[in-house]
Amino acid sequence: MRLDKIDRKLLNLVQEKFPLLSEPYRKLGEIIGISEGEVLARLKQMQDEGVIRRLGAVFESRKLGYSGTLCAMRVEPDRVDEVAAIINSFPGVTHNYLREHQINIWFTVLAGSEDELGEILNLMREKTGIREIMELPAEEVFKIKVNFSLS
């Protein structure tokens, strides 16, 4: 999707400073100098086109009592689709990337507790027949940034 200057302004603004006011879209329009209707129309189009995935809260899983980890597996190229389908079928798997490396499948998984996390990983081992899942939980967080600044 081709974004014009106003779309870019709006996108930067809604990523960083989404108003916690009764009429947030009107406020966004006031800041940019367009009507509330135009803000809503532009946001709707960016949502429909997949540029915006979601509007609203990004939760900190650990503060909600969830446990999570990054995991990595070495999967033969001809089994990638099949194994990915098994991994992705778990709702706690939020991200999964194929990467260029011998260890090629990299995913994150969240669960309500450490025990549940262990159970999920064991189920994955069972269903894929791949015993080696490297668990790499974050031990220290230096940065989680999810804003993409557009000029």
Partner: protein, 161 residues
């Protein structure tokens, strides 16, 4: 009863469930969600503020798909850093605007890397250039770039469901 049940009431969980559907594109989105939850708009906004203050909400705003925005290359750059230098190195790398994520993770057999960064850019060359700059800025020379070749899944977590 676990830790979280003590701090999160049933009503809190209901609010979190409702918020993870995203804000509707209507004039008064908070009012619309509050109605479903049988609370007032002000109560809901206050609750969101308190979740932001205590860190349960990390960010309040739009989540974008970076690929659709032209950030088509995504490299995980992993670093082998002496234990005593990890915190300092992590902080330096986190200071680069091109680095979107930076974590310390454990080493594993056959896996010597203990610092993980993610770099997004318009091309692979760009990502490789950033990795070089990070290396020069920190003096860490044993590193590897893992480019993503496919996004197999990307979704938002559904909590308390």
């Amino acid at each position: 009863m676990n830790e979280v049940d003590k701090i999160l009431t049933e009503q809190d969980k209901k609010i979190i469930r409702a918020l993870q559907n995203g804000l509707p594109l209507v004039t008064r989105p908070y009012q619309s969600i509050a109605e479903e939850l049988e609370m007032t708009e002000d109560e809901l906004v206050e609750k969101i503020r308190s979740f932001i203050t205590d860190g349960k909400i990390r960010r309040f705003g739009a989540t974008v798909r970076h690929f659709e925005l032209g950030f088509v290359a995504n490299a995980m750059v992993v670093w082998d850093v002496p234990e005593e230098k990890v915190s300092e190195t992590g902080r330096i790398m986190a200071g680069f605007k091109e680095v979107t994520h930076c974590y310390r993770r454990p080493r594993r057999p056959g896996w010597p890397y203990n610092l993980f960064t993610v770099v997004h850019g318009q091309s692979r060359e760009y990502c490789a250039g950033i990795a070089k700059r990070l290396s020069r800025a920190t003096g860490v020379t044993n590193y590897s770039l893992l480019y993503s070749t496919a996004e197999l899944k990307k979704s938002s977590m559904r909590y308390f469901e």
